[in-house]
Amino acid sequence: MATDLAPPPTKAASKSGHRRPGVGLRAVFGRYRWLYLMLLPGIVYFALFKYLPMYGVTIAFQDFLPFLGYSGSPWVGFKHFEELFAGPDFGRLMFNTLFLALLHMLIVFPAPIVVALLLNELRINILKRSVQSLVYIPHFLSWTIVAALTYVLFAADFGVLSGWIRDFLGDTSKIDYMAQEDWFRPLIILQQLWKLTGWGTIIYLAALAGVDPQLYEAARMDGAGRFKQLWHVTLPAIRPTIVVMAILASGNLLDSGFEQIWLMTTSLNRSVADVFDTYVYYSGITQGAISYSTAVGLFKGVAGVILIFGSNWLAKRLGQRGLF
């Protein structure tokens, strides 16, 4: 980033006027010293708080005991990973995590695009703005509140919505939506749609605002209707944004959203609710299996990196600009 900026007019440079840029590393540092100095706090921050802690992942290869510390705890190689991969939970965790991620990519990810396109077609500005504001309010509520709302709406006993559904279907049996395996994923996806869609819309609306109106005029001259305009002008215009968002999302594919899932887990739906995130918390913090849960977390991290590189590569292959 620093190299994009014009070099600051240092005294030496301004005096001699046309001194050639330095060749050696030292000269470069000297020339851009203030820029590099400004970079320093950032480097220190990342080194201290992002890279140094990564040393901690070594405990995934130890039987870590805090009392003995890093140096004293015995090394066990890949034992914890073997335990994870061979263990009875791995398949279930992998499936649950990926399945939720897939649902997220198919349903939650496109939702803001659709809403943004719909809002873009609205010609009454005040309506457009108020809808936009309304749909992003849920973003500011915590998952705890969302889970509590869901409980109030769907509880078997007094749930408002479950009551309506019962009345509507003339059904007398009480379905406990909060406790059934079959209803876990729909509820999770509904919550995500409700909470995340409006916020995601903002970025796409910004991208849409940047589309040149002349393109629409030209399309109209060529006889394109509303739908054709959408298909041939609007969508291609925001395609790069969608691709970048998709790549970023793929990095978080295995992040199932700890808080949301943890709050929605009960004994009855645990078999579909257990994902890597909640499992790491459960085994690490609640059960105190620090090394094991670090191994799980490390695996998840590595898989996330592979996914983000993979989707970046794929985007480039498909002729799009990647993230890097």
């Binding site: 006993d157 406790a179 009855l268 059960q287 105190g288 299996a289 620090i290 849960s293």
Partner: protein, 507 residues
């Protein structure tokens, strides 16, 4: 995940180095907190400091997040000198066995007030026979059933004695309109989402014991087997499943927040609770707020119930609630340990226990005979003293509780119904103790159970709830039990048997 490792790294860096300087005149303690934390300069803390002649540095941690905080603290390497801890928590077992806590087994005899009052309980709170902490004494038989007395009276029913009576009453509560509003909107038994695992004093565990299943582990054909691998376990759960399917149990039993357990009882939605006997006084409190005169007519209590054939098996608790463990990192030498133990010994005297459990004599209570009654209840400053005692300092007491005595004075509640209930509590405890089914595997901790906990601990309680709600058939429930064995349970069972037999030899 990165945040977890970050926390660990940061702390391990500091923990590896020199241990914190120990000041013989200060004692640091981490303990559970209910409600708001006491002011370090408050009356109560000053009274304790004055009594000990030492500065007290307390780290109060809210009860709801105590386990999480404990595990993080173990990992931090920056431990307080004394910690309130469940001695069988996997994180603690690992830390203790690695040498992070003092083994007190042979050290307590020197201190007149720390010598375990009950050898069996001391053993139960140990890790495979090694005592890593002073147990906090609690009455062992606290299981009971609390019933809406007014509902029983309205329907002309008698107090239950057997599990069949339980069924009859639950059915009547659900179907015969006990609240008289003309609607069928009540049920019999109230069960919350249970936070603990198998054999953690849940209503399910108590009911299974009533049917004759072991309490946790029990001997069958000369070997110890887990309680859920017995026909009695299945029998009890079939009984409960029938009640669930007939609508005699609250339909949200898998999701009802356990902190709201009293609400449906108080609001007249359900009429029975199986839990600790002191819950009876909690619900009395609720009814007294509505009606200070007749609240005593609303709540009845019975002890453990008999099986259909008349045989009685009562569910005892562990006899202790957590232990006070002493860190070796912040109490490095034998001399420091002696200093800390002397302090704890002083707290374990009659005077210390009264201070921790009753409060400051003449300030918030006065002694009447051998009981304590509250005084100055309306003075806001005294109210704070009382709250600091109840919410916090009582956690440091090791010799009984002010419910049933121990060394401190029994607190006499105001109001006849409370006194009646207290009397009944004592009477039921003594009676049920005769038929108590103890868990022989309580003192032992299987290494596999510690390392594989994350993978196997939820199998049984989850399967049990699924079976009760009709999502699993009997065959599938048995399949889940087999899955427990296959996921490491077989090894756990072998280890438990080995450890218990070893323990038997040394005693």
């Amino acid at each position: 995940m990165l945040t977890l490792t970050a926390a660990l790294t940061a702390s391990a860096c500091s923990g590896g180095g020199d241990a914190p300087q120990t000041d013989p005149n200060t004692i640091t303690v981490m303990a559970k907190l209910f409600g708001t934390a006491p002011d370090p300069n408050g009356e109560m803390q000053q009274a304790v400091e004055k009594f000990l002649g030492k500065k007290l540095k307390m780290n109060w941690v809210p009860n709801a997040e105590y386990t999480d905080k404990l595990n993080v603290t173990f990992a931090s390497g920056n431990l307080p000198q004394v910690m309130v801890v469940d001695p069988h928590l996997p994180g603690f077992v690992k830390a203790a066995e690695a040498g992070a806590f003092w083994d007190l087994t042979s050290k307590l005899d020197k201190y007149p007030n720390l010598k375990p009052a009950d050898q069996r309980t001391a053993l139960n709170s140990s890790i495979n026979g090694k005592i890593y902490g002073l147990y906090r004494m609690r009455p062992s038989l606290r299981s009971a059933m609390i019933i809406r007395k007014d509902w029983l009276d309205k329907l002309g029913l008698k107090l239950p004695e057997t599990v069949d009576d339980l069924y009859t009453i639950a059915k009547a509560f659900a179907e015969k309109d006990p609240d008289g509003n003309g609607k069928k909107d009540t049920y019999g038994l109230i069960i919350p989402k249970w936070p603990g695992n198998y054999a953690s004093a849940s209503p399910y565990d108590v009911l299974e014991t009533w049917f004759g299943a072991p309490n946790g582990w029990g001997e069958r054909n000369g070997k110890l087997v887990p309680g859920f691998d017995t026909p009695e376990f299945l029998e009890a759960n079939k009984f409960l499943k029938k009640m669930v399917s007939e609508g005699l149990v609250n339909p949200d039993f898998a999701t009802l927040d356990s902190a709201k357990w009293n609400e449906p009882f108080h609001q007249g939605k359900g009429g029975m609770i199986i839990d600790v006997n002191i819950r009876s006084r909690q619900v009395l409190d609720l009814f007294r707020e509505d009606d200070p005169k007749n609240y005593g007519d609303k709540v009845a209590m019975v002890g453990n119930l008999k099986r259909s054939d008349g045989q009685k098996f009562s569910y005892p608790f562990t006899g202790y609630a957590d232990v006070l463990a002493i860190s070796r990192q912040s109490v490095p030498t034998e001399q420091d340990l002696d200093n800390v133990l002397k302090t704890l010994d002083k707290l374990a005297t009659k005077e210390g226990q009264v201070l921790l459990q009753n409060g400051i004599e003449g300030r918030n209570f006065k002694v009447e005979g051998d009981t304590a009654s509250l005084i100055n209840e309306t003075d806001p400053k005294v109210e704070i003293v009382q709250k600091d005692v109840d919410n916090a300092f009582i956690q440091l007491s090791t010799k009984g509780t002010n419910d049933f005595g121990g060394l401190a004075y029994v607190r006499t509640p105001s109001g006849e119904p409370y006194k009646e209930m207290l009397k009944l509590q004592k009477q039921l405890m003594d009676e049920d103790l005769k038929t108590a089914v103890f868990n022989p595997a309580l003192p032992v901790v299987s290494p596999t159970a510690v390392s594989r906990g994350a993978q196997i601990d939820t199998i049984i309680p989850d399967a049990r709830i699924k079976f009760l709600s009709g999502e699993l058939t009997e065959e599938q429930l048995k399949g889940e039990i087999k899955r427990w064995y296959d996921s490491g349970g077989t090894q756990v069972a072998t280890e438990v048997n080995d450890l218990v037999s070893k323990l038997g030899k040394t005693n």
